[in-house]
């Protein structure tokens, strides 16, 4: 058993699609989740986050069985491609909700929020609303919330997909920095082989609801024996 994330013979059926995941992902590392569109990457993340419950099998996080736990009881933070912030609330409130879901914040909490904003390069943005930010700034704010939550697992579903290439690079660097500081376990869904190389220690490749390959990033990027993966890696 691992102290990372384990999907133990997990089976799930959604409509006509069947998913079968059995894997153990290392703690304190960045694992890239890749695969063709519709292969089940988001579903994989939803299982870990608790938005889907397996029909069979168990899900373990840091050794604890979370299979039946509500999303709020799992030690995870989430970053999606878009809509990570409540559009009508300012950044302080958006990040504060990560500390207290009823927004009862102490002076220390407020200081932590300001610090987190500072850390992602948005110092002084407490009163800004998401609508007044650029796409990159919004994703930074989402990172800031993940920071204050101090959860051991960070799940990201194509967090940079809506950003332009230059911005992706700087966001990836920011993510690496934050990861080094906190030592959390990161799962990141990505469509971009370059991103796998840049960010990930490990990678898995999903096709038709099954994990075809799990490997260290260096090995993953040079494998050519799985046709679907070869296609993914070539662009």
């Amino acid at each position: 058993m691992t102290d990372g994330i384990a999907l133990d013979k997990v089976e799930l059926k959604l409509g006509a699609r069947e998913f079968r995941f059995d894997c153990a992902l290392p703690a304190g590392a960045v694992t890239a989740i890749t695969g063709p569109s519709g292969s089940g990457k988001s579903t994989f993340l939803n299982l870990v986050a608790g938005f889907e419950t397996p029909d069979r099998g168990r899900i373990l996080i840091a050794g604890g069985d979370v299979t039946e736990k509500h999303p709020s009881e799992r030690p995870v933070s989430l970053v999606f491609q878009d809509n990570n912030l409540f559009a009508h609330l300012d950044l302080a409130a958006n990040i504060g909700l990560g500390i207290s879901p009823s927004l009862r914040l102490s002076g220390n909490d407020r200081a932590a929020i300001s610090q987190a904003l500072e850390r992602v390069g948005l110092g002084g943005f407490e009163k800004r609303t998401p609508g007044t930010l650029s796409g990159g700034e919004r994703q930074r704010a989402a990172f800031a919330r993940a920071l204050v939550r101090k959860k051991t697992v960070l799940l990201m579903d194509e967090p940079f997909a809506a950003l332009d290439p230059g911005l992706r690079l700087s966001m990836a660097n920011l993510l690496i920095d934050l990861h080094r500081e906190t030592g959390n376990t990161v799962l990141i869904v990505t469509h971009d082989p370059d991103e796998v190389g840049r960010l990930a220690d490990h990678a898995i490749f999903i096709d038709h609801g099954q994990i075809l390959l799990q490997a260290r990033a260096e090995e993953f990027l040079v494998r050519r024996d799985i046709p679907a993966l070869a296609e993914f890696l070539s662009g």
Partner: protein, 539 residues
Amino acid sequence: MLTRAERRRGIGWGLLSLVGIAFFVGIAVAALLSWDAGNTQSLLFTAYTWRILRFTLLQAVLSTLLSVVFALPVALALARRPSFPGRVWVIRLMALPMGLPVLIGALGLIGIWGRHGAMNSLLLKLGLEQPISIYGLSGILLAHVFFNLPLAARLLLAALERLPAEYWLLSSSLGMKPFSVFRFIEWPAARRVIPGITGLIFMLCATSFTLVLVLGGGPAATTLEVAIYQSLRFDFDPPRAIALSLLQIGMTALILVAISLFPAPDDSGITTGRATRRFDGRTVPARLWDTLAILLAIAFLILPLASIVAAGARANLWSLLSSAAFLRAAWTSFTIALSAGLLAVLTSLAIIAGREAIADMKRPAGTARAFSVSLGGMSSLVLLVPPVVLGTGWFLMLRPFGDVARFAPALVAIINMLMALPFVMRVLAPAVETHRERTGRLSASLGLSGFSRVWRIDLPVLARPLLTALSFAMALSLGDLGAVALFGSSELTTLPWLVYSRLSSYRTNDADGLALILGIICLALTMIGTAGRRETSHD
């Protein structure tokens, strides 16, 4: 993109409709203003008119408040329960009152809440003595809530369902409890649309005629519109009718200005099929609360509808259907509805053509822009000058020229047309616009124009929205009592008028049967309309 000839034609059509509507409404208002003005002024603010105005506003405020306040928990519950059993049907049920002729709804409400209705019988058995009266203020409020609660609930639900799916994932992952979800997500979304919804419902309630006529009407419970009708039809007191009409126009003008300050609500984005997933509200009390809210709303809406069916089925439907009175009224109603519907569609197309021609100009002059704006305003002029006021004006205008009954069918058709125009515009304008965006350049480059363009390019695509608009307009006209009330007589009997006069002469059995028939016809037409609309909004 338009050829010069096309642009000229468009402006011509627009101008024609503009002049036509302005003429029809202008004559009515001029007739009111020119009738013995000195006398009217002193009648404008008497104790009597004040009382009427006060009651009009009071019942509208209360109706709006109750509708929105009770709609909120229903909408929240439906939004939180995307897989509530039969949810699609609950949402469809909430669309029903809007397609139901108001008079029919009133009959259903009397069936449940009336003196001998199911509700009071139940309360009697429980030991209370006749606690609810369907007549007077309480009845008017009840009826307004019946028609407007589902409207408000649908609009609120649409606003909630337009929120990004990520919000629900995030809130549950963050561990937000129901109250936090309400405070930070649901309420801010609702608050954005509530002003618009409130304005819309307030307008509907302040100008409601049929419900007040049937359920109120006594001196203590009369709105401006009903008072106008009564002073003309029963007391024949034109100066008072004119004074009330002017008050009515002033009031609606103020409301319209207030409404224009807020964004208009719309129910796009409401999902009847696959819905968003919610992870909150899994606790037992939350489940119970939502189930209770939804079930109570269903009961409140379905009981009167069931009562219409039950009471209607008791009547001898076959002999009603084959009676001369029914056949004559049906024929009258049908011809008026068809004329009103066709007129409304044609006028809309003319208005759209006019605005399109202006929009096509590179640098429209100020007059052209003003023309375009007034074309848009014209289509909702009937909101400012309501049917009873239009009818009153024309009534006074035509009286010197002989029996008003001779002109009545045409007047009713035109007034119905004006009432339908805002709805028809809402269906046709976006449809024509997207159609032009898709095909305009191509048609122009191929040199398609005139008849061949209309026949080959426009009609096949626009047939659906045209049919939708026509059936909406016809349903509205078929179920309308407001325009015909002033002119209804043994010579001019429409179906709603027939129901109303049967009701007034206490032949309730006939009224119930006729109501069922009319209700089915109107709902069928509205359903044709909505089916078409759903189709067009998807592609």
